[in-house]
């Protein structure tokens, strides 16, 4: 048979009707309890706490689902939200909002949270957003996990707490990003946050940006084929940046800028960049056991802003400019007091 969305037209009507009926029969057993979720089947404004389930595809001018209550769980239930304009899901100044398990195509944002405290977006498959696909402004306690974002015009995930009174906490993990117009994952004024095990391929700008952040864990991400640097710490300190792979960045692989201090940069691999593999401009950072090979300039560079960084057991070979900048083989220092025990493998050439 060829199946369209409603092979049994009556079935859908029954399903919609059951949304109300289920509330009546809910006490009978667990199956009915599951059906006690409120069905969503058209453009909706949610004004009461509760659990909601999408029961058909919805398209139209956004926001398709506007959340104006706290304690709301939306199960997209494998269905599609396709806004012709605006956001698919929008929430402002609410708490404990969850969106999960479905598909979102087009519109400005797939999910847009402003001023949301404690929110989750999980197992959502997004394509074609014209602004940040998953946008979180002045939010705190956000989890983005197991999502796929493709072919966007702007960011994949934008978490911007720069206008918040205090830094925000966010997790972005186990997600895939492809064909991102600008930055795949952009965090501003985030703290105590996790960015882990994401795969990024093909971005128009940096793969990841951490701007004015502190105490981040950035680990085990793969960043490939970026339009600018692989990823950058800008004014960010006290971060663990470990086990990431950066491949084929258009500029540097990893940037730790002059205002980023006391970060641990360890066990990362950077290869095939057009210029320097790992560029450090800040102070008192540690570079440990990184592999920075086959880049278009130096493997590792401590530039003129950098002071008192320590590097050990790094490997940098096959870089066009040499293993490191500003010193003889195995010693790098274009700034002041950048120090090594000499156990690196940073030959002047090769």
């Amino acid at each position: 048979m060829n199946v369209s969305k409603t092979p049994f037209p009556g079935l859908l009507l029954a399903a919609v009707a059951l949304g109300a009926a289920a509330l009546v029969v809910a006490p009978i057993g667990t199956a009915e309890a599951a059906e006690a979720r409120v069905p969503l089947y058209t453009t909706t404004t949610i004004t009461a706490p509760g659990t909601y389930v999408l029961t058909r595809n919805v398209t139209g001018a956004g926001p398709l689902i506007s959340i104006q209550a706290s304690d709301v769980d939306i199960d997209l239930n494998g269905f599609n939200l396709t806004p012709t304009s605006g956001a698919a899901v929008n929430a402002q100044n609410q708490s404990r909002i969850s969106v999960h398990d479905g598909f979102i195509a087009n519109g400005t944002n797939a999910v847009r949270f402003d001023g949301v405290d404690t929110g989750r977006v999980e197992r959502v498959n997004v394509v074609g957003s014209t602004a940040a696909a998953l946008s979180f402004t002045k939010c705190n306690g956000i989890v983005v996990r197991d999502v796929i974002v493709r072919n966007t015009t702007a960011e994949g995930v934008l978490f911007d707490a720069s206008a918040s009174a205090t830094p925000g906490v966010v997790e972005v993990s186990d997600s895939l990003f492809s064909g991102i117009g600008t930055i795949a994952i952009s965090l501003k004024n985030a703290a105590s946050s996790l960015v882990a095990k994401n795969g990024i391929n093909s971005t128009g700008a940096r793969g990841m940006l951490f701007d004015t952040c502190s105490a981040l864990t950035v680990r085990d991400n793969i960043v490939r084929s970026t339009g600018f640097a692989g990823f950058a710490l800008i004014g960010s300190s006290g971060c663990q940046v470990t086990g990431n792979i950066v491949r084929l960045p258009t500029n540097e692989g990893i940037i730790v800028d002059q205002n980023s201090n006391e970060n641990m940069i360890a066990r990362n691999q950077v290869t095939g960049g057009l210029i320097t593999g790992i560029l450090v401009g800040g102070d008192r950072n540690v570079l440990d056991r990184n592999q920075s090979n086959s880049n278009g300039n130096w493997g590792i560079q401590f530039n003129g802003f950098s002071n008192d960084n320590v590097y050990r057991t790094n490997m940098a070979r096959g870089n066009t400019g040499g293993g490191c900048a500003g010193g003889p083989a195995d010693f790098c220092d274009q700034g002041g007091g950048n120090t090594t025990f000499g156990d690196n493998f940073l030959p002047a050439l090769r």
């Binding site: 048979m1 060829n2 199946v3 369209s4 969305k5 092979p7 079935l11 859908l12 029954a14 399903a15 009926a21 289920a22 009978i28 599951a34 059906e35 979720r37 069905p39 089947y41 389930v53 029961t55 058909r56 595809n57 239930n77 494998g78 269905f79 599609n80 598909f103 195509a105 498959n125 394509v127 796929i148 493709r150 895939l176 990003f177 492809s178 064909g179 095990k197 795969g199 990024i200 391929n201 085990d220 793969i222 960043v223 490939r224 084929s225 792979i245 950066v246 491949r247 691999q269 290869t271 095939g272 056991r289 592999q291 090979n293 490997m315 070979r317 096959g318 156990d343 493998f345 090769r350």
Partner: protein
């Protein structure tokens, strides 16, 4: 209970539509072509004679819940055939006795989760145009259990690849870049390779592979691959492209009498913190085509014909390796 109340309760039970209908998902109960986006749930087992795919997905934005049901054949046919569409999720079912479980060679943003596959020629063939996730599956086939082609980025994690079907190449991941292969278990393989990759920016982390015969356990034929925290027993590991890193792996007891247990043939490999022991030939080797490799903090002991052999050029060791020439 008063009669009216009892009648009301009875009517509620009798007239209630099937539970699955309550969430609006469309049931599938026979071979089907899905032509519109949405959520679909298999309502019964399906069997093919091989002439058609049991379920064809011809629309983007489709969630197919197999609901624990089995799609099976007698050695022919395909369970789920995905046309050139995107955003497809297939989950929670069984494929048995088919040529292919899922064939999605021209699709993007495909997610496959919690599939059990037995007695197929291939279980999953995915890729070509975009992201892929394969997670929490049990896969066993006679040829290739998971075949990724140009899937990028991709995640392959928490799968079990049992060797019941004696797959020739359980994980064949070709030209798939930005790929994370993590926490998979491959056991009792008697085959060519438990895992073959040819893409770049590949991360292979915390997998467990035990072989009972055949040749190479893990073969990395793409550059910029990071292999760490894996446990490989009775199988050989090799990397044949530039700029790879092996960190903190355990490789032991390879029965191969010709190849080193951990064998490098290209430039600028980094070997750090690995334990390589008890092999039937060499422990670590840089072959003649290798150059500028670095060894740091590795332990290689008890390998029959030597623990470290450098046939390459300009390979470098730090002083903290424990790789006596013999034993």
């Amino acid at each position: 209970m008063r009669p009216t109340a009892a009648l009301g309760a009875l009517l509620a039970l009798v007239l209630a539509p099937p539970a699955l209908a309550a969430d609006g998902r469309t049931p599938i109960w026979e071979p089907t072509t899905i032509t519109e986006p949405g959520a679909y749930t298999l309502a019964r087992d399906l069997v093919t004679d091989g002439s058609v795919a049991l379920i064809t997905i011809a629309a983007s934005g489709v969630d197919l819940d197999l609901a624990g049901h089995t799609l099976s054949g007698t050695g022919l046919g395909t369970a789920v055939y995905v046309l050139a569409v995107d955003r497809v999720r297939i989950h929670d079912g069984v494929f048995r006795g088919l040529v292919d479980g899922v064939w999605a060679s021209q699709s993007a943003a495909v997610v496959v989760e919690r599939i059990r596959c037995v007695d197929n020629v291939r279980c999953l063939l995915l890729g070509e145009f975009g992201p892929v996730v394969v997670r929490d599956c049990n896969l066993s086939s006679s040829l290739i259990s998971l075949y990724l082609i140009s899937a990028q980025p991709a995640i392959v994690e928490r799968n079990v690849l049992a060797g019941v079907g004696n797959a020739t190449q359980p994980l064949r991941l070709l030209t798939s870049n930005a790929l994370r292969i993590e926490d998979n278990a491959a056991v009792l393989m008697s085959n060519y390779w438990a895992l073959l990759t040819t893409g770049d920016a590949v991360r292979v982390d915390s997998n467990r592979v035990v072989k009972v015969g055949g040749d190479t356990a893990l073969w990395f034929d793409g550059p910029a691959t990071v292999v760490q925290d894996n446990a490989v027993s009775t199988g050989q590991v090799q990397a044949t492209r530039d700029d790879v890193a092996f960190r903190d792996n355990v490789v032991r007891a390879s029965p191969d009498i010709a190849l080193a247990q951990l064998r490098l043939t290209a430039a600028r490999a980094l070997l750090s913190g690995n334990l390589v022991s008890g092999g039937a030939a060499l422990g670590l080797s840089f072959e003649s085509t290798a150059s500028r490799g670095v060894l740091s903090g590795n332990v290689a002991r008890g390998n029959a014909t030597g623990n470290l052999w450098d046939f390459g050029t300009n390979d470098t060791t730090a002083g903290d390796n424990f790789v006596p020439f013999l034993y």
